[in-house]
Symmetry: C2
Subunit: 245 residues, 2 copies
């Protein structure tokens, strides 16, 4: 193995599936492409890796640049690398896809770069055609998130810095698209060591008894998982299981 022209260089990009919860639905951050091919189409944010940049670093930078997001994602992990030779008509490219998760932001995103960035409902986006292999990547991201709720504390990344148990349950119910028993959920979450810890104060959702406030604990892996197989209920359009603690 040597660095001759026999081994053509490749353009390496970093693409990001940034998920969040808005209005009780799972949303993904999309940008409108400003150049050919696929000009004008909604696409996942991403761009080329720079010479002296690590992969996660590049992912964070792209999120900042292309979406004008000031906040750092609470969760960022590598999703997988997509390199079909025909994925980009212009040149041989390899995309290192990442999954990022953020709590719901008060306001839509102010795009600073190219065309603007916007939050889109995941289900709607998955129903469309997407540029390149972004459909595969988005699907992988959503499935990864769905799977990791089960056996990691990823759900807290969707919630704000503090949250009630009901809010956390809402995360699960929204991402999984299935209602959970409030009583059993409460007991399990509070009982799972390191998942959540009490924060001072209480919070009321308007009606009903105010709930205790929690923040994310130090654990990252849930052992045993919250739920293993789904307890025979409605089927979700996507499923399966992925990981990386």
């Amino acid at each position: 193995m040597s660095y001759t022209s026999a081994f053509p260089p490749v353009y390496v990009t970093v693409d990001v599936v940034l998920l969040t919860l808005r209005a009780d639905r799972l949303h993904v951050l999309m940008v409108e492409r400003g150049s050919e091919p696929w000009r004008g189409w909604l696409a996942l944010p991403g761009g080329f890796v720079r010479q002296d940049e690590d992969l996660p670093e590049a992912a964070r930078r792209e999120l900042r640049e292309e979406t004008g997001l000031a906040v750092e994602p609470v969760h960022l992990e590598q999703l997988g690398t997509f390199g079909r030779p025909d994925r980009d008509p212009r040149a041989r490219t390899v995309a290192v896809a990442h999954l990022a998760v953020l709590p719901a932001l008060p306001e839509p995103v102010a795009g600073t770069d190219a065309a603007g960035a916007s939050w889109q409902p995941v289900e709607a986006v998955l129903d469309r055609e997407l540029p390149f292999d972004h459909h595969d990547i988005l699907l992988a991201g959503v499935e990864r998130a769905r799977g990791k709720l089960e056996y990691t504390t990823l759900a807290t990344a969707f919630a704000g810095p503090t949250f009630t148990i009901a809010e956390l349950r809402h995360v699960y119910e929204t991402v999984w698209g299935r209602p959970l028993d409030p009583g059993n959920f409460h007991r399990k979450v509070v009982g799972a060591p390191g998942f959540v810890e009490r924060a001072p104060g209480e919070r009321s959702s308007g009606r009903g008894r105010p709930a205790a406030v929690y923040r994310a604990g130090t654990a990252t892996l849930l052992n045993p998982p919250l739920w293993r197989g789904e307890p025979a209920t409605p089927p979700s359009p996507l499923a399966d299981r992925e990981a990386t603690p």
Copy 2:
């Protein structure tokens, strides 16, 4: 985003962690590097991706070329992509690491390319210094394999085309480094839908009652998993959980 010199191309390699079981120990296929840097060191097999090659395809080709293996790996999945800017002193490279699993081969490998390929015990290799970030990659591969035994049928990839339940149990015991209860294991494996199916015949290990022969079933995910948390026994040097069905 455009293809100008502002975005320098990168050399993309595919590296493979090929695991197998030999003599009751987990082994990994290593090659001896024939060129600088790290000439003469044991390294993971791998090489540059070609222009019109998909990633898994490249991984398979590298295994063939660099190790002279005639057989296709029973299991091949992407492990992750390693791209620290300083991982290769010669140029910016990004390595797409793969995990492959093969049943024990009757004979050591006949290297055809470069220096020779050889099976090395994983524990021993992890105790050494390795070229580039191959230590990280190997570690990720072993942890992924350990984790996936729990909730996928990966173990059958370590066994031959047919196997007894005890042989399959040996896979778990060796990879996890911990003894399992034969009775409970038998019941669970046979009871897990799609994990294994009867093959004709019986097989004797010399002593004792001959065992029924099985082959891999059609399932790929085990739901529920064989074991969740470890039942409080000796700690293994590596742990954690990874995935991709």
